[in-house]
Subunit: 413 residues, 4 copies
Amino acid sequence: MRMPAVGVWLVGAHGSLGATVVLGARAVARRLVADVGLVTATPELKGLPLVAVGDLTFGGWDIAPTGLVAQARALARDDSAVPESLVAELEADLRTVEARVRPGFADGGGPANRPSRRQAFVPRGEPLAATIDRLGGDLEGFRRDQGLDTVIVVNVASTEPSVALSGDHQRLDRFQRVIQENRRALVTPSMVYAYAALERGFPYVNFTPSIGVAVPALQELALKHNVPICGSDGKTGETLVKTVLAPMFRARNLEVLSWEGFNILGGGDGRVLDDPRHKRTKLRSKGGVLAGALGYAPHAGVRIEYVPSLGNWKTAWDFVHFRGFLGTKMSMQFVWQGCDSILAAPLVLDLIRLAEFAQRKGEAGPMTHLASFFKDPLGVTEHSFAEQFRLLTDYVARHARNGRTTRKVARPR
Amino acid sequence: MRMPAVGVWLVGAHGSLGATVVLGARAVARRLVADVGLVTATPELKGLPLVAVGDLTFGGWDIAPTGLVAQARALARDDSAVPESLVAELEADLRTVEARVRPGFADGGGPANRPSRRQAFVPRGEPLAATIDRLGGDLEGFRRDQGLDTVIVVNVASTEPSVALSGDHQRLDRFQRVIQENRRALVTPSMVYAYAALERGFPYVNFTPSIGVAVPALQELALKHNVPICGSDGKTGETLVKTVLAPMFRARNLEVLSWEGFNILGGGDGRVLDDPRHKRTKLRSKGGVLAGALGYAPHAGVRIEYVPSLGNWKTAWDFVHFRGFLGTKMSMQFVWQGCDSILAAPLVLDLIRLAEFAQRKGEAGPMTHLASFFKDPLGVTEHSFAEQFRLLTDYVARHARNGRTTRKVARPR
Amino acid sequence: MRMPAVGVWLVGAHGSLGATVVLGARAVARRLVADVGLVTATPELKGLPLVAVGDLTFGGWDIAPTGLVAQARALARDDSAVPESLVAELEADLRTVEARVRPGFADGGGPANRPSRRQAFVPRGEPLAATIDRLGGDLEGFRRDQGLDTVIVVNVASTEPSVALSGDHQRLDRFQRVIQENRRALVTPSMVYAYAALERGFPYVNFTPSIGVAVPALQELALKHNVPICGSDGKTGETLVKTVLAPMFRARNLEVLSWEGFNILGGGDGRVLDDPRHKRTKLRSKGGVLAGALGYAPHAGVRIEYVPSLGNWKTAWDFVHFRGFLGTKMSMQFVWQGCDSILAAPLVLDLIRLAEFAQRKGEAGPMTHLASFFKDPLGVTEHSFAEQFRLLTDYVARHARNGRTTRKVARPR
Amino acid sequence: MRMPAVGVWLVGAHGSLGATVVLGARAVARRLVADVGLVTATPELKGLPLVAVGDLTFGGWDIAPTGLVAQARALARDDSAVPESLVAELEADLRTVEARVRPGFADGGGPANRPSRRQAFVPRGEPLAATIDRLGGDLEGFRRDQGLDTVIVVNVASTEPSVALSGDHQRLDRFQRVIQENRRALVTPSMVYAYAALERGFPYVNFTPSIGVAVPALQELALKHNVPICGSDGKTGETLVKTVLAPMFRARNLEVLSWEGFNILGGGDGRVLDDPRHKRTKLRSKGGVLAGALGYAPHAGVRIEYVPSLGNWKTAWDFVHFRGFLGTKMSMQFVWQGCDSILAAPLVLDLIRLAEFAQRKGEAGPMTHLASFFKDPLGVTEHSFAEQFRLLTDYVARHARNGRTTRKVARPR
């Protein structure tokens, strides 16, 4: 079986995560690093014939003309996350991708979206329909020029402010009218990118808390064009741990009284989330998890604070106050110190590989088997990580080469 | 269906855990507290027709003539774990059980086993066979006097020093010869208690890291008398969290480089574990968990230190150093602050109810569906808590009233 | 030398701290507890002839008619901070004090100040001047009825919202006109209480972040009546640790990049601080400390969140990010788990004893030697705890019996 | 005034700390980094006319022929503590120093001292007296060849096993006889190095817990040759924090019940301390601190565990259990995550500058004003960091240029 030629188009290619995805893919391709961190490299997933990381071809959109190489260097120099020499060795590869980045779409102001950066790069005064056409053309051109079978579009851009969904977002025909009539107040960039991708038949991965493909009209569009989609908001650190620990409290019938989480981080992501409108989008995505995993909603808080000196190193402290037998109050705390882009990048590569596989298998709409990757998984209400991961291993068991199952099961001796 | 009359016989009834089990059972029976902390009270287990906690009748062995009431008071006064008024209200119930405690078996010295305490209480110079006879008689007498259908024997005594198993422990006939010949160096108290229980057909729960029913000859004895058994070492705190977090690192392909755990605790348990021979038994039980759950053995350490001022409040700090994508090292820490007896007591009540149910269903030998309760589960090599818990929910699904399954499954919307 | 008869008048006598002060003083008086936690019981302060804790007579104001006994009980029952039996043993003493509590002054709404509670107790529509007269009369009556030499007034009430100081607060004559003209918008309860005390010549201790005696016009009043004063905001937990650690970073020339503090607490104090206007007052008091102790202002945040289940147990997590030699970034974290009322109460007793001593010695105005007790010490800019404590030991050295110094000095061998 | 030409001779020049000292000194000399981390760069010490860091000339002893450059590279590559480019830029400077390193003295086995490494480098079968002569010649030759006014000898080698001191160590004449008679069992390498330095009149800084100059006979030798000395064991992390926090508990009369510290670290230092005999030396040095600072000895433990993946990044968790007013138990924890060599190196440079200054001023014997730099300060029993630091600022006040004091004092407004 010939493995297809697969392209990856990054929304926000010049951001820290975009740069880390490309850096990582090229490092794996050139065998400079092991495949640590890739879920698709675990024994549980070996059974699926996925495209090799080294065979992916990258391009993308951004609202600034440059940044990818600079971000990779900052990851080494400012964050001490990777060796300077690794970035130097891959600089030519990074430059090649940086040269392919094309103007995205920016609307309004906000910390992620400073006019000064994008002035010369992003077209101004363009109606929504024209933008979608232009972006669709970028994807089609990339596919054609690089001789690709498909292109996976992945949103790794900064979190956008949240917007209230109305009846116009519920059905495709009404949403199409919104676009034709250029009613910009109802449309965020993440919707525009998703629309452009789905209309051309390209799978869409929303790794951010921005709404994007979670809009019902866009899910309708995905089904219409027979395209698999997934999101929202990659589950990389504190929330991942929450969805692992909360089921433990539930299974042991320990009553969680309060679960207070404090996140501090710097970097571009931290700066954007320092804006209350953007932070709200993020907190909404993080907030539903506990009640979902516990079966009731304890007193809970999630705070995110911008601490510039931390750069990409997100640090979280969670305090869990719980009541046990005879009413006795006890507590558990954890501290997570992870480098956000480094945690997220391999998951992005996993999702690309799995989205391409799903498309190859003719699957369309929300990929519910990918729930374990997301804070707010499209089409799944389950929030226990173990149960979500089982959705994935069950999927693998159904699709594994030769029908052979590799699912890990509990082993009585 | 008439619910059977069930007795509970505690090995180490005068210890902190023994006292908390009785205190808790009576508090539940008299509806002074909710059923928080009981796994058997979760929706997942509601389908099983288990004996009510309030219907259990308690008795037990110890090597000292008194302690149960004093331990319950200390839990209130020294540990501030329960209100003084709760203990006062149940004091008559506790006294009734304390009066039923009979002399156990003590051999050699050691911190759990000070001659001064037991001199007048435990018979001296008694051959092993006579002891087993005497103990078996205690169980039989308890059953008869209280009009019970069965008695569940539960070891909640202090950890005993470890002993090397030889060929004499492998087969029942050879082990019986050891007992007949009174070769005491090969026999620990936990073996003696288990032997006495199994020979009389009573289920045996080993909540401690002492070897007890894990001896192959005793498992043979259990099968011979058609008795269900389980153990070893109740999983209540740090190790529970480990078996929840380690599978997360595995599922995300994050390479655990080091996992260092430090436990500090006071109380009788802390004092006994301060003795290196006893501590070794405990560490062995805690040690195998990580490699089992990760699939490889990282650099790992578990230390236990006696800190008298903490009393029953075990505090654990775990530091997990792991490597992610591109070789980046990151870390996670957790601090667990739990009251050991309070965490353990409801699990003991769960195991009693489930062991009685298994006996009622005619099951014998290791109850593998109870793996999630133990650090070193008899007959199961799986160490992921979620997978172990699934063994339990699968069991419930098979046995639930009307065959109706109540198993919780991942829910695609 | 005859020791004077000393009264203590608590503003907020029915609050958790007020109740703990009285409970503690009576427990010490009746020798039920040791003097742990009292700074005035350390060897460094033994040289001062202070009034005995057991000789203090208590009374106070509140805006609700009852609460002192109930708060003491809650400290035992809800917070497990003291034994139930201790409160029971002292209940008669507590009742005596509760009976002496008289109506205070409440203005406006706010969570600390619910109309429902105070309706029948606090007079309504009373002009400011009349209130001050009434309150002064309460103090004078207490002194006379109990045969006291002096009364120390201590504010232990909930934090009030902050108010902008104007020219009217700068001079006593102008502030007196404000009172005469009943311009209530410029006057907070803490100013009213302080005015009433100082006018009658009674020392005033402000243990809260409320402005009170920090108003310049009131300091003028203190000097006019020759009365010692001190404040603001008792330094009991997280901030205490900050003023101990920050000088270490300074002395070692380690550059603090960020110092992020998260406080969670329940209880009445937590509920009041959950209101943004009240929280602002508190944060202002906590905020100045770091720059004062480091000599520069790092990125820093202090957050306070209301977590009801914690009750009086304030838990704080501080993350300190710092840069060392060669630019290397490192970090330190601490977690403080303290019972707020228990930490604060002995300091209140210390301040009472030291304020009375100062008055006896004829001292007036800000007691700068008490800086180490406060987050925002009146009249002192030094924020290093060690330097502040030296102000106290130097004071002791000057006043010690027989002129003998007991100051602790660094000891070369 | 001409500033003297000063040499630095590092015992253990090829270790991680030795390499960091040289790397750091050269980075400061070439103005590639700021002077963060140097105590001698704080305003408090600016008054002293100290030799410039950039004017120091380095050499040293080791038991292996190479390592300095490799260690500096490892600090960048393995520990991500400094940029690779910084090491590259200074490589020529490092090579120059590496070329000056001469064979030291090794006796016996042990993890710090593997025969394989030193076989060709360190002379074998050399009597003690001859070794001391050889080492003294190295120092004298270094001084002469480089045209130096003095040489400061600093022990930064691995911790050696502890040795019991006997009467032979108490007086110089008896210790000299031990050397003449080559009684090797009584003499450790740190004594040999110290002897060689002091005999030639060179100041000696013991930054390690090895006994060295703490031997009474060697202190006698220092006084005889009019040489200043200091030690033992640089106070860089967990112990530094202890000596800052413990006085706070003391000043507040909070009774420390238990203080449990767990240290984990990798690197050469971690590997050596994994050997129980070496660890004992270290623990002794860390152990005395608490009782010294508190005035009583609480239950306390200090554990050090070797965790290879951490490299130079020592992580410590300390749990402090304390009793406050009314007997209430509370707790504080801290986690210290520091890079050991980076924390220690600037202190070594500070001590060099201050030791040279002391020699210039004609001071001899233990430099008690340097107590704040050490866990077990020579000649000082005070363990409060603030009090120790005051010894230093008092010294500065006495020696400052123009007699002007720059001592920081508590500032009443």
